[in-house]
Each structure stands twice: as structure tokens, then as C-alpha cells.
């Protein structure tokens, strides 16, 4: 028996006026996999994330989350998604716990249930001892970890992260990347948008997006072949300095 993919994107296109931002994008994310959406800046990653989170909608193509059609059953689909946007979405002048409670409430959770889930999510990201601190007092890495923990409160089936390491130092980047790989190893399905190949492990699935089109979907090892992933990526996309980490 085949399992429904955690995320299935089929023939999705989107235009801003005359400009084709996404062109016939199709890929599937299997359950419990870490999938990197790899593309240079301007490839269409953030636009695709806006479609996956229903901040934008398109009539061209179909998106399914854990078997739920995002267009027909958006609430069921959104309930199964955890999102970490590229731009931080935190109330800086309130505590970590209050930020988490607000998010839990948006998902309909309050009281003891919310507290238990928040504690578990913070524990998972080694952030529990920071619960009482104001977000403004946290460094960039801890803020990101907090956002990831927040995205896990409602136990999503798919975790979407849009370039989550932007602006972080090397140590924080490595730590966040390792944490999310661990989450995938525990069974969570992860779609990680990036333009930095050093965030990808050989066993990870990779979807290469360039100029709004999917160039290839395969494991990082397969795409790299005999050489390095970065060389293969640059060859596919026609050269891009920023890919070098």
C-alpha cells in the first residue's frame, strides 16, 4: 500500500503580470524526509512558500498537504503545516512563552493542553529554560529555534522553512540545520528552502528550482554524482556565487 506523500505539488504555475514566477512546478515530499528546495536568489522559492501556506493562491496546478487539497480544504491542509518564514514573525517585547501561547491559540489551543504542547516543543529544541525570557533578549540563533519550536506546537505533519538560517552566524546555522535534520529523522517531513548547499546532507532529497522551474528532484548524492553538490548545482543553474557557503 502506498502512503500519501506529506506534500504533493502538481503543475503549479503563477505569474505576476507578464512575469512567470513559477512555471509548471511539480514535486512530492515523502513522509519523514528532509527535502531541500535548492535555488539561487530569485528562483521562486519564497513565492512557492507563499502558495504552500495559502498567502497566495493560483488557479494553475494543485497542492496537497497530507492528502488534503489546499484549495478545496484549506483549513485541514493548513492545520497540518508548520511554517518558519524567512522573515522573523515574533513579538520582540513579550516573552517566549507568551509568543508561543499566542500561536497555540491561533491553532485553537489554550490552557493545560497548550502549556503541555509548548513545553514539549521547547524541550525538543532545547529552549525550555528560555520560556520566561523576552524575545528581544535572545540571540538570532535562539530566536530561530524558538520559531521552529513554535511551528511544532500543533504537531504538524509537514514543516516548511523558508531560508531559516539567513542572517545567522556559522555556529547558529550549523546548530539549526542539525536540529531540523534530527526532526526529520524522528519522522517529521521537512521542506527546507535554501540557496546554501552546505546545509544539505548527502541523503537529503533535493528539488532544484531555477527561474521558477524545477530542474531536478533526486537525492543530494545522486545529484552530486562523482563530484560535489555545489558544482552540480552551479552547472545546472549556470553559475551562482552565493551557492558557495
Amino acid at each position: 500500500m502506498t502512503r500519501t506523500p506529506a506534500l504533493c505539488v502538481s503543475n503549479v504555475s503563477l505569474s505576476y503580470g507578464a512575469r512567470r514566477a513559477l512555471d509548471d512546478v511539480s514535486f512530492a515530499l515523502d513522509r519523514g524526509r528532509f527535502c531541500a528546495l535548492l535555488g539561487p536568489n530569485g528562483a521562486g522559492k519564497s513565492t512557492l512558500f507563499s502558495l504552500l501556506t495559502r498567502l497566495l493562491v493560483t488557479r494553475e496546478g494543485r497542492i496537497e498537504v497530507a492528502g488534503f487539497d489546499l484549495a478545496r480544504d484549506p483549513r485541514a491542509a493548513l492545520a497540518r503545516i508548520g511554517v518558519v518564514f524567512q522573515q522573523p514573525t515574533l513579538d520582540l517585547d513579550t516573552t517566549v512563552m507568551r509568543n508561543m501561547r499566542y500561536f497555540a491559540a491561533l491553532h485553537g489551543m489554550a490552557g493545560r493542553e497548550a502549556t503541555a504542547r509548548i513545553d514539549a516543543a521547547l524541550e525538543r529544541l532545547n529552549m525550555r529554560e528560555r520560556a520566561g525570557e523576552k524575545v528581544r533578549a535572545l540571540n538570532g540563533g535562539h530566536r530561530r529555534r524558538m520559531e521552529i519550536a513554535r511551528a511544532l506546537i500543533h504537531a504538524p505533519e509537514v514543516l516548511l522553512l523558508d531560508e531559516p538560517t539567513v542572517g545567522l552566524d556559522t555556529a547558529a546555522r550549523r546548530s539549526i540545520t542539525a536540529h531540523v535534520h534530527d526532526l526529520a529523522a524522528e519522522g517529521l517531513s521537512v521542506l527546507w528552502a535554501t540557496h546554501l548547499v552546505d546545509e544539505i546532507e548527502p541523503s537529503d532529497e533535493v528539488v532544484v528550482l531555477h527561474r521558477g522551474r524545477v530542474l531536478r528532484q533526486a537525492s543530494a548524492a545522486e545529484i552530486a554524482g562523482e563530484g560535489d553538490l555545489i558544482d552540480a548545482f552551479i552547472e545546472m543553474t549556470g553559475g551562482n556565487d552565493e551557492a558557495a557557503a
Binding site: R54, L55, L56, A79, D91, A105, H107, G108, A110
Partner: protein, 263 residues
């Protein structure tokens, strides 16, 4: 349904906490109408003679006349402030967090509206309290009857703010909109002078005042403060609230609205 109410509670609480933590905003929200009440009204008291018109049953001083208009002004400014905060939220990204939660988008935006109304109620009642301390008192039941009127007018003005926020891309564009919305709405209304007084100056201006939804918000509040019902004002304000909200929903529609334009 419980989940919907949990979201409503969280959004209203967040907005109220943000308002109460921002002392500058609280203070300016109170100082603005008090300046009008203490300085402007004192200057105009002698210049403006007021006849006895409903809901008043006797001659009133100008200070008494403008209190309902100032209550509505607080809500107008608050609606625009909420709109500003929505534009800020869009720039800062927290709007994305709200709009990607698994509740209907209309409900999430309605929660935002209600949060703005709750904040405006805090401001209006604080203002009415200070006015009472200054000797400008309303009938006791007026303070109760005015609550639903304030909720409805707050919804209408908040929905207008929501609509405006759906059309603005950047905070920098906001000042111009404030000038083109707040001042005309406020001055072309019955907040500072009755319609018949405006008619003495210009029938056209009087007609514009008569169709300004803000005029009807002022009158709804004025009548309610005297424990009276103004059905016509209620109809106008209710219709305005629904119309502005529906238009704002179009602006926030993911298929055609703000997020698409922002790219």
C-alpha cells in the same frame, strides 16, 4: 467553535496588552480629545450658539455637545492606528503568522477588528471618565447604552482602517492616507457642529456631512449617551461596517489582494 473563540481571545488580548504597554500611545489617545474638549471647546463656546435638538431636551454648553464627537474621534484615530499597526505587521511578518493559521480568513480579520474595538473602548471610557471629573456628565444609563453603539461604530471605523491597510504597501505611504481620511471625515461631520449649523454656511457641505458615515457614528453615540435610540444612524453605521469589512476582505483575498501585489 471553541477554537474560534480561543483565537479571538488571544488576538484581542495581544492587542490590548500592546496598547497598555505602550504608555505613549495611551497618553496621546487621551490627550488628543482632552485638548479639543478643554481648549477648542472653550474658544468656540461663545462663537457657537446651539439650539435644542434631539437628543438634548434643554440648552447645553458646547463642551457637552462635542463629547460624543470626541468619542467617535478617539475611535476614528484608533481605527487608523490599528490600520497602521496592520501595515506594520505586514512589513514585520506577523500578519503572515495570523493568516496562515487554520481559521477562516474572514474570522481572523474580524478578530483583528474586535481587538481594535476593545482598545478603543478602553480609550473612550477613560475619556468619558475624565470628562465626568471635569463636570461633563451624561445620564448614568447613557454610559451603559453607549457600549453597543461604541462597539458598532468601532467596528465600522476599524473596518475602514482594515480596508485602508489592505491597499497600502509601505508604512511611508500612511501619512498621506491619514490626511485624506481622518481630517475630511472628522471635519465634514456633526462631531464639532450640528448639521443645521453647517447648512447655514453651505448646503453642499451639509449634504456631504449627511452622507458621511462618521456623522452617523457620532449621532449613534450621541443618542446612546442620552439613553436614546437612533435607528437611522444605526442603519448607516451597520451598513458602513459591513460594506467596509467586505471590501477589506477582498483586499486580503489571497487570490487578488495585498499579498499578491507584494509578491
Amino acid at each position: 467553535m471553541k477554537a474560534w473563540l480561543v483565537a479571538l481571545h488571544a488576538i484581542v488580548l495581544r492587542e490590548a496588552m500592546r496598547f497598555l504597554q505602550n504608555r505613549g500611545r495611551f497618553l496621546s489617545a487621551l490627550v488628543r480629545p482632552l485638548v479639543w474638549l478643554v481648549i477648542f471647546a472653550a474658544g468656540f463656546r461663545a462663537a457657537l450658539g446651539l439650539s435644542i435638538t434631539p437628543p438634548y431636551q434643554t440648552y447645553i454648553t458646547y463642551e457637552v455637545y462635542i463629547v460624543p464627537g470626541l468619542c467617535a474621534m478617539i475611535q476614528l484615530f484608533n481605527g487608523m492606528q490599528s490600520s497602521l499597526s496592520l501595515v506594520y505587521d505586514q512589513e514585520m511578518g506577523s500578519m503572515r503568522l495570523l493568516l496562515t493559521s487554520p481559521r477562516p480568513r474572514w474570522w481572523l480579520l474580524f478578530c483583528k477588528l474586535m481587538a481594535g474595538v476593545a482598545v478603543s473602548l478602553l480609550q473612550v471610557y477613560a475619556f468619558l471618565g475624565i470628562a465626568a471629573l471635569m463636570g461633563i456628565k451624561m445620564p448614568a444609563m447613557g454610559y451603559v447604552y453607549v457600549l453597543p453603539a461604541l462597539v458598532l461604530s468601532g467596528l465600522m471605523l476599524g473596518a475602514l482602517g482594515l480596508l485602508i491597510s489592505s491597499t497600502i504597501r509601505q508604512l511611508e505611504n500612511f501619512a498621506g492616507v491619514m490626511n485624506f481620511v481622518i481630517f475630511p471625515m472628522f471635519f465634514l461631520s456633526t462631531a464639532l457642529y450640528p448639521l443645521w449649523k453647517m447648512a447655514e454656511a453651505s448646503r453642499l457641505l451639509r449634504d456631504i456631512c449627511a452622507v458621511n458615515p462618521f456623522t452617523h457614528a457620532v449621532e449613534l453615540i450621541r443618542f446612546a449617551l442620552y439613553a436614546q435610540f437612533n435607528g437611522w444612524a444605526l442603519l448607516w453605521v451597520g451598513t458602513g461596517a459591513v460594506a467596509f469589512f467586505l471590501l477589506a476582505l477582498l483586499g486580503y483575498d489571497p487570490a487578488r489582494g495585498l499579498m499578491r501585489r507584494k509578491g
